[in-house]
């Protein structure tokens, strides 16, 4: 059975809310820094969280992002209600994007989001149901012993 998280917090993300987009990820970054997590791990988790948060803002109706800090790892889960992803393999390819012009004008939607998340995670899982939503699970190990995948 999984031990209780040393720290846990959940954030609500509103689809289409470009004004506040990124705020939750910045709070995660600042919180991880405050509790003394290694700066490189903070950077990697903050980037993964921000890309994931922007994906919810750009493509979904709404979502929740939960950060859990355990003794040996940090787990970030993002669960959204939205159109889902039709072809995950294609979505994971750098450069593939279904972004609108508005999203691109914000500096996003270049098809780098999911590859950036994967690059910064030790473990990255994505599941999606078309017409329902997408769930991401991002893990970064704290013990430094496990190799990155």
């Amino acid at each position: 059975m999984r031990p209780e998280a040393l720290f846990q917090k959940e954030f609500t993300i509103q689809g289409g809310d470009f004004v506040n987009a990124g705020e939750s990820s910045c709070m995660i970054r600042n919180t991880l820094r405050e509790i003394g997590v290694d700066s490189d791990i903070v950077r990697r988790m903050a980037i993964a969280a921000y890309e994931a948060e922007m994906n919810v803002v750009m493509y979904a109706l709404r979502g929740t992002m939960q950060i859990s800090v355990y003794r040996d790892e940090i787990l970030l889960t993002i669960d959204d209600k939205g159109p889902g992803i039709q072809n995950i393999d294609m979505a994971m390819q750098p450069g593939f994007s279904t972004a609108t012009e508005e999203m691109r004008e914000m500096g996003f939607g270049a098809g780098m989001g999911l590859p950036n998340i994967k690059k910064n995670a030790d473990v990255f899982n994505i599941t999606s149901r078309v017409g329902n939503g997408t769930k991401l699970e991002i893990r970064i190990f704290l013990d430094g012993k496990k190799t990155r995948k």
């Binding site: 910045c26 950077r43 921000y50 922007m54 500096g107 270049a110 780098m112």
Partner: protein, 129 residues
């Protein structure tokens, strides 16, 4: 090179600065794609890195906060909105604006010793591009 020296080289203006005028800047990233800025983020602190961009929205500030970038130079005479400036002040990110285009800005900084850092180089200056 300090931000004050960069300001002179680019004939730029400070929009806001947070005691960073004399901070030593070594690296620069130039992009209007925020995911690229994040992908180029280095394991070492990026506070001595500047972002050169033509985008002025709040996401630019958020991206720099996430990546730990300490200063932004807006090119082509662009000025951010009051909202963007307020967010930069909260995040303690220094903002400058120059009338120069991105290409010229990069060229001047590069010829004066500022280097870029390629993705995945992990901050090794010998790998810098």
């Amino acid at each position: 090179m300090t931000l004050s020296q960069i300001r002179i080289l680019l004939d730029a203006e400070f929009i806001c600065e947070h005691g960073m005028k004399n901070s030593d800047i070594k690296y620069a990233k130039a992009s209007d794609l925020m995911s690229d800025v994040l992908a180029f983020s280095q394991p070492f602190s990026d506070r001595n890195t500047i972002l050169i961009t033509g985008l002025t929205n709040k996401q630019v500030i958020r991206t720099c906060e996430i990546a730990g970038v300490g200063a932004i130079i807006f090119v082509r005479g662009k000025n951010p909105s009051a909202e963007t400036i307020e967010l930069a002040q909260r995040c303690k990110i220094t903002l400058l604006t120059t009338k120069l285009k991105m290409f010229e800005t990069c060229g001047i900084l590069y010829t004066n010793g500022i280097t870029g850092v390629a993705p995945g180089t992990h901050g090794n200056p010998s790998d810098a591009t």
